[in-house]
C-alpha cells in the first residue's frame, strides 16, 4: 500500500479510536479521577499551601501525570483484543506502524485533555501561573514522549492476569530521563528568569528517541 | 570502621557474592540436568513398552 492510503487508513483508525475512547469513558474518567485525587493527596502530604509550592509543584505535577498516564494507557489495546479487532487488523494489509501511531495519537490527545484540565485546576488551587504557553509546550512534548513508550509496552498481552501491574514497573525506569527533564524544565519555566532551553532540548531528544524506537519496534511486538 | 575494615568488607562482599552465585548456579544446573536425564529415560522406556 502506498503512503497516502496508509495515511488515510491511519486517520480513519485514529477517528475510530477516539470514538471508542469517547464511548467507554470509564478508563479515562478513572485516570482523570486518579490524577485529581493524587494531586490533592500530595497537597495534603506536602502541605502545599505555604511558600514551598513553587519548589515542589513541578515534581508533584509530573509524578501525577506519569502515574495516571501509565495506568490509563496500560489497557490501550485491551478492548481491541477482546473484540477481535486487533487480530482483524493484523491480517489486514494495514501496516502495524499505522495501527500503533493511531493508537498513540489517541492516547496523547486524551491524556493532554486530562493534563490541561489538571493544570487549570492547579492554577486555581495553588494560585501559581501554571497555564502558560511555555508550560503547555513542555507538558505536550513530555506527554508525547512517555505515551509513545507506554503505548508500545501496553501492546503486549503478556499471558498473565496482572500485566497491568507490571507495566509501571517496566515503564518507569525507562522514563527517568523524561521525568528529570520535564521536572527541571517545568521548574525553570516557573522561575522569573526562565532558562528552559537545555531541558526542553533534552526532553525533545527523549521524545524523538522514544517515538522513533517505539514506532520501529511495534511491528515486532505483536 | 577503619579504612582497612572498609577495604576488607568490600573484598569480602565481592568474593562472597561471586562464590555464592557460582554455587547457586552449579546446584541449579545439576538439578536441571538430573531432571532432564530422568525425563529422557522415562520417555525412552515408555516408547519401548
Amino acid at each position: 500500500m502506498t503512503f497516502t492510503t496508509q495515511l488515510e487508513i491511519g486517520l480513519k483508525l485514529f477517528n475510530a479510536n477516539l470514538k471508542q475512547a469517547w464511548r467507554d469513558k470509564t478508563n479515562w474518567m478513572t485516570a482523570g479521577m486518579f490524577a485529581i485525587t493524587a494531586l490533592l493527596l500530595y497537597s495534603f502530604a506536602f502541605n502545599l499551601t505555604g511558600g514551598l509550592v513553587r519548589n515542589l509543584l513541578p515534581g508533584v505535577i509530573w509524578t501525577v501525570f506519569l502515574f495516571s498516564g501509565i495506568f490509563a494507557t496500560a489497557q490501550s489495546f485491551q478492548q481491541d483484543r477482546q473484540n477481535g479487532i486487533l487480530d482483524a487488523l493484523k491480517i489486514s494489509p494495514i501496516h502495524p506502524m499505522t495501527i500503533y501511531i493511531a493508537k498513540t495519537l489517541t492516547n496523547i490527545l486524551m491524556l493532554l485533555l486530562i493534563e490541561f484540565a489538571l493544570l487549570l485546576g492547579a492554577t486555581i488551587l495553588f494560585s501559581e501561573p501554571l497555564f502558560i504557553p511555555q508550560l503547555l509546550l513542555i507538558v505536550t512534548i513530555g506527554t508525547i514522549g512517555y505515551t509513545a513508550l507506554s503505548t508500545l509496552l501496553s501492546a503486549i498481552n503478556l499471558d498473565r492476569n496482572n500485566g497491568g501491574l507490571l507495566l509501571p514497573v517496566l515503564a518507569l525506569p525507562l522514563l527517568v530521563p523524561l521525568l528529570i527533564a520535564s521536572v527541571e524544565a517545568t521548574s525553570a519555566s516557573l522561575q522569573e528568569e526562565a532558562n528552559t532551553a537545555p531541558w526542553i532540548l533534552l526532553l525533545s531528544l527523549f521524545t524523538i528517541w522514544s517515538a522513533a524506537i517505539a514506532t520501529l519496534m511495534f511491528p515486532l511486538a505483536d | 570502621m577503619s579504612e582497612v575494615g572498609f577495604l576488607f568488607a568490600g573484598f569480602a562482599v565481592f568474593w562472597a557474592g561471586m562464590f555464592t552465585y557460582l554455587v547457586i548456579l552449579q546446584v541449579r544446573i545439576r538439578n536441571l540436568q538430573n531432571q532432564v536425564d530422568m525425563l529422557e529415560n522415562t520417555i525412552e522406556n515408555h516408547d519401548e513398552i
Partner: protein
C-alpha cells in the same frame, strides 16, 4: 559456528583462566599495588569496583545483542542467552554498587552520593530487574513474551546514554557538595593492576554468562521434554 566452539570451551578454558586471573588480581591488588597517597588502603577497592562495573556493562551488552538476534532469528537459544547474561549483569551491578558504597563511606563520608554514574547504575539495575521479572513471570516457551522482553531489553539498553546524560545535567545544573575528583590519572603500576583485574573479572563474568545460559537452555529443554511426556501419556491413554 565460532560461537559454538567458544561455548564448548566453557569448562576447559574459562574456569582455570578466570581462577588464575582472579588469584593474581587479589595478590596484585592487595599486596603489589602501591598505597594511594590521599585515600590510603581503601583505594584498593577500585580494583574490584571498576572491573565489576565493566563486567556488568559487558553482560548487559550481551543481553542486548542476544535480544536483537532473537528478534531476527526467532531461535529460543538467543532468548536463553539474553536471560542468562542479564542475571550475571545484575549480580555485577549489585557488586559494583556495594563495593562503591563501601569505598564512599570513608572517602566521601556517606555511603551514597547522587552522582551521575552511581545513579545511572542504579537505574540500569532497575531496568534489567524489570526485564527479568517480566520474562520469568511468563512461560518460557511463549514466543510473544520472549519477543516483548527482547524489545524491552533493547530499549532499556539504548536508554542508558539518555539516562546518563539526564542525570549528569540534573546534578551539575544544581548546587552540589563538592566531590573531590580523585585520581584523574592513575600511575603506571596502578594502571597495570587495574588492567589485570579488569581482565580477571571479565573472564569470570564470561564464565558465569555461559553457566547462566546453560541453566536457561536446560530449563527450556526440560519444558519441551515435559510437553513430549504429556503428549505420550495422552496418546497411550
Amino acid at each position: 559456528m565460532i560461537l559454538n566452539n567458544i561455548y564448548e570451551l566453557r569448562w576447559k578454558v574459562l574456569p582455570p583462566a578466570a581462577g588464575v586471573a582472579m588469584i593474581g588480581m587479589a595478590a596484585l591488588a592487595l599486596i603489589t599495588a602501591p598505597t594511594e597517597v590521599v585515600e590510603g588502603d581503601v583505594q584498593r577497592l577500585l580494583y574490584v569496583h571498576l572491573p565489576s562495573a565493566l563486567a556488568s556493562y559487558f553482560a548487559f551488552s550481551v543481553t542486548a545483542v542476544c535480544s536483537v538476534l532473537f528478534l531476527l532469528k526467532r531461535d529460543f537459544k538467543w532468548d536463553s542467552a539474553a536471560q542468562g547474561a542479564a542475571i550475571v549483569g545484575l549480580i555485577f551491578t549489585l557488586l559494583t554498587l556495594m563495593t562503591g558504597s563501601l569505598w564512599g563511606k570513608p572517602i566521601w563520608g556517606v555511603y551514597w552520593q547522587w552522582d551521575p554514574r552511581i545513579t545511572t547504575t542504579l537505574i540500569l539495575f532497575l531496568i534489567f530487574s524489570a526485564y527479568l521479572i517480566a520474562r520469568k513471570s511468563t512461560s518460557l516457551d511463549s514466543d510473544k513474551s520472549a519477543r516483548f522482553c527482547s524489545i524491552y531489553a533493547i530499549i532499556g539498553f539504548l536508554d542508558i546514554p539518555l539516562i546518563h546524560m539526564s542525570v549528569r545535567w540534573w546534578r551539575t545544573l544544581h548546587p552540589q557538595p563538592i566531590i573531590a575528583k580523585l585520581n584523574p590519572a592513575l600511575p603506571d603500576e596502578m594502571l597495570l593492576v587495574t588492567l589485570v583485574s579488569v581482565l580477571a573479572v571479565i573472564l569470570v563474568a564470561a564464565w558465569f554468562i555461559t553457566l547462566g545460559i546453560e541453566t536457561e537452555l536446560l530449563s527450556q529443554r526440560l519444558l519441551k521434554l515435559k510437553a513430549i511426556g504429556k503428549a505420550n501419556i495422552s496418546e497411550k491413554s
